[in-house]
């Protein structure tokens, strides 16, 4: 390493256009051996496009990539792999029907007589899993059968198995449990010592504060600034990212009246082994958070309320009356008045090729139609109102939602449900992978909805969000509510302690404190 003057990676003048849209404009970026370089920016700032260029998924319109000082052209992802670049994408790039070992060794499996050597492949997979701390994953398991957090560990192991010179992590820890994050961080720090170059993208500031050596901020497809980590305050960085003053991240809480009648009351709700005797009350005007490690039953709880789970036991009372919610159709009806903002907007929330109009009114179209016939003018009015309320930015409501940015797509998913004027709103991690600006707008919106009398149940993997947005937070562990935090007790430390189910906070792993 010593005496090396050219950085491992240098990108110069990278420009990328999609049709008429400029995704990257004359961007430069460098990353050196033994450094963890954080890429910061709102969604649509160009981070993901840069990564795609670097990993050969898309080709730039102009500019060049130098690896070890030698110019490179990556026509396909395979070419970037061969050059020693491994990327862990935000959207999982695993093959669900193949085994863990197949996935880890998919690019260049060990061969014997022109055939894949399964025994050697398994060994290699086990070794790669051990490196990232996923020893509990069986290499012969089918990826489809693994929970999301395990799949993400496989994804990281897969990148490591290629023994890259440059590792790129694009929101790679978003689905991981806190314990896994600690393991992955330890691994990254070790790799840095060993001289690997790491590009790290995350929306979580505390992760960047812990890991990064250098930071580069992108905005609007342009390079804003590169600086040494720790030389700027969080506020200054966020300001650079959004280009405006960053203040008052969370709107002030307005406490619901504790004596009002709960609109939703859940008694001893259980399902399979994933939900155990859950009790909760939700009053109009309240925002209640669901915390805990990922995969502790939060998603199932929301789905159970929304009527998609079969064989639940316990009682759900809507405004005092016991209701057996059997389907989303039933859940959205006026007698229940529920809405669910799902976690996966591309597959559960939207019809991507269809228009903004069709998506926005899809759940409420019955309200705007008579005898199954859509009333165009009523629809138009409702859409105009919603576009204004949510500040949805699009090229017009008859364009496809696929063309919108992630943040605007998420607004449409939310708007689609607000059309129904629900009194109970369930949100499943609505800000995952969303830019800072839109996050702010969503927080404000939640508050406004609560003030206007809606009851909100809000699951988030981001502890800051739970603390800032919620009146109360129920922490789930193994399908059970093990702690309810409110007021002064609602702190990050308490949330993490409860999530890990440890009462003695000294046992906390250092990395997540």
């Amino acid at each position: 390493m010593a005496g090396e003057t050219t950085p491992l990676l240098r990108m110069e003048g990278i420009t990328k256009h999609y049709g008429g849209v400029r995704a990257l404009e004359n961007v430069r970026f460098e990353c050196d051996r033994g450094r963890i370089h954080a890429l910061l920016g709102e969604n649509g700032a160009g981070k993901s496009t840069l990564i795609k260029v670097l990993s050969g998924v898309v080709q730039p319109n102009a500019g060049r990539i130098l690896l070890d000082g030698r110019p490179q052209v990556f026509a396909r992802p395979a070419a970037a792999n061969e050059a020693g670049i491994a990327c862990i994408f935000q959207e999982l790039s695993l093959l669900p029907d193949l085994t863990v070992a197949d996935n880890i060794c998919i690019t260049n499996p060990p061969m014997r007589f022109g055939q894949i050597d399964y025994r050697a492949q398994r060994k290699r997979a086990e070794a790669a899993l051990a490196v990232v701390g996923g020893e509990d994953i069986h290499p012969n398991a089918t990826v489809r059968d693994l929970p999301l957090s395990r799949r993400q560990m496989v994804e990281i192991a897969k990148a490591m198995a290629r023994e890259p010179k440059l590792l790129i992590l694009d929101e790679a820890t978003s689905a991981l449990t806190a314990a896994d994050v600690a393991k992955v961080f330890a691994m990254l720090k070790r790799l840095r010592e060993e001289g690997m170059a790491v590009v790290y993208i995350s929306h979580r500031m505390h992760e960047i504060a812990e890991l990064a050596d250098d930071c580069t901020v992108f905005r609007n497809g342009q390079h804003v600034e590169t600086f040494t980590a720790g030389s700027k305050t969080d506020n200054a960085m966020v300001e650079m990212m959004i280009g405006r003053e960053y203040q008052n991240a969370f709107p002030p809480l307005t406490r619901a009246k504790p004596d009002s009648e709960p609109v939703l009351k859940v008694e001893n709700l259980s399902w399979q082994r994933e939900l155990n005797n859950i009790n909760l009350e939700l009053r109009p005007g309240e925002v209640v958070g669901l915390g805990g490690l990922d995969g502790q039953g939060q998603r199932q709880l929301l789905l159970a309320l929304f009527g998609t789970l079969i064989g639940t036991t316990g009682t759900i009372r809507i405004a005092g009356e016991a209701v057996d919610i059997t389907s989303p159709q039933h859940a959205k009806s006026d007698t229940v008045g529920m809405a669910l903002i799902p976690e996966d907007r591309k597959h559960e929330g939207l019809m991507l090729p269809m228009t903004v109009r069709e998506n926005l009114t899809f759940a409420a179209v019955d309200r705007m139609s008579k005898w199954g016939l859509v009333d165009r003018s009523a629809e138009e009015a409702a859409i105009t109102e919603m576009v204004e309320l949510l500040k949805i930015r699009s090229d017009g409501i008859d364009g496809p939602v696929a063309a919108l940015s992630g943040g605007n797509q998420q607004k449409i998913v939310i708007g689609k449900w607000l059309m129904n004027k629900p009194r109970i709103i369930l949100l499943n991690d609505p800000t995952r992978g969303i830019d800072v600006g839109t996050k702010q707008e969503i927080y404000q919106l939640l508050r406004r909805l609560a003030e206007s009398g809606a009851a909100i149940l809000f699951y988030s993997t981001d502890y800051d969000e739970l603390i800032g947005c919620c009146d109360r937070v129920l922490v789930l562990y193994d399908g059970t509510v093990i702690e309810t935090l409110a007021g002064d007790r609602l702190t990050e430390r308490n949330l993490i302690a409860a999530a890990l189910n440890i009462t003695n906070t000294r046992d906390l792993p250092e990395t997540v404190q």
Binding site: S55, S93, D97, I106, Q272
Partner: protein
């Protein structure tokens, strides 16, 4: 779902059991097909007054092997998440061609066989090229190329007829110590073509594409080549079936109904054999048993004295039954969302 990674301390015996259960889970489709076939064939043998003589087994094997080969052909595109509606047409085309060129002495017949196999490969290759580089839907492409291939077979054999090298035909249709040649042929095809393919990078690539094409591309799988090879090999399997048909009937005939019948039955055989129509899961070995299940239905009708014109009815019922077995999973589904993937 334990978060604690202490399971690594589990005894090696536990791992071995894990290995076995993972293997069993992966092969469950195949095992089910084998079980259904075994039961049906035993019932057939039991109802047959004379019992299972070598002759009867040979006839059954010949009939089954034709569909089995076509079904193997169908399996490859299906694994990539596609479909080949032209396999039956390639089967008929190669049958017609073989009835013209696999004639004369051993040398000329040998080169005739090579030619027919080459044409099968070419047909599959054409399908593959259009699907891969034209980026069109396989169903439509193969529906259209199937029409072209059928036109070609009509041009070769406007009227049924032709002949085939007698020694070769006899070799392919006799049995050796009770083992029919066709069974040996199937085993040879599995061992010499299917197994090496399955364990090659491009073979695994086919599964990867069927599982998630985007992820496969991102992971550096040679997507285009893997898919091209799958369709090309499908043409080869169909051509082997076409030659076998010529050996069994000693002639060639361009019958659209025959071609469609084989295409449709091949899809049924593939599904019964445990291959998912969504791609990514399955094996050609399963399809062989699926094909034998489909063929045994007809044999069972005969031994149970049911009017043979009803065969389509029973084949249809078997198909509906097969997909309904797949539907049993919805009884286990506890989250309605899992029904929509």
């Amino acid at each position: 779902m334990s978060v604690v990674p202490s399971t690594q301390a589990a005894a090696p015996a536990g791992r071995a059991r894990d290995n076995f259960s993972h293997w069993l889970l992966a092969q469950r489709g195949l095992l089910l097909a084998v079980a259904i076939f075994a039961v049906m064939f035993l019932v057939y043998g039991w109802k047959l007054n004379v019992g299972l003589t070598a002759n009867i087994i040979n006839t059954a094997a010949n009939k089954g092997a034709l569909l089995a080969l076509v079904a193997m052909a169908q399996t490859l595109p299906v694994i990539t998440g596609g479909l080949d509606l032209s396999v039956g047409m390639i089967f008929v085309l190669t049958n017609c061609l073989a009835s013209v060129v696999v004639v004369g002495g051993p040398v000329s017949a040998f080169f005739g066989i090579l030619l027919v196999l080459g044409v099968g490969l070419l047909c599959g290759f054409i399908n593959g090229v259009i699907v891969v580089y034209g980026r069109l839907q396989p169903i439509i492409v193969t529906l259209a190329t199937g029409a072209v291939y059928f036109g070609c077979s009509l041009a070769i054999r406007p009227q049924p007829g032709g002949s085939v090298n007698f020694e070769f035909a006899d070799l392919m249709t006799r049995s050796w110590a009770g083992v029919p040649s066709t069974v040996i042929l199937l085993i040879a095809v599995v061992l010499l073509i299917w197994m090496p393919y399955r364990r090659s990078v491009l073979g695994r690539g086919a599964y990867a594409i069927g599982s998630s094409e985007q992820a496969a591309y991102m992971s550096g799988v040679p997507v285009a080549r893997a898919r091209l090879l799958a369709y090309t090999l499908a043409g080869l399997f169909a051509a082997i079936a076409g030659i076998l048909l010529t050996c069994i009937t000693y002639s060639g005939a361009a019958k659209a109904s025959l071609a469609n019948d084989y295409t449709l039955n091949s899809i049924g055989a593939v599904v019964i054999g445990g291959t998912s129509l969504f791609g990514g899961v399955g094996s050609a070995v399963g399809s062989i048993f699926g094909a034998f299940v489909m063929r045994t239905v007809g044999d069972l009708l005969i031994v149970f004295d049911i009017n043979p014109v009803l065969q389509p009815l029973f084949v249809g019922i078997v198909l509906l039954f097969a997909v309904s077995i797949g539907s049993l999973r919805i009884l286990r589904v506890k989250n309605k969302l899992d029904l929509y993937r």
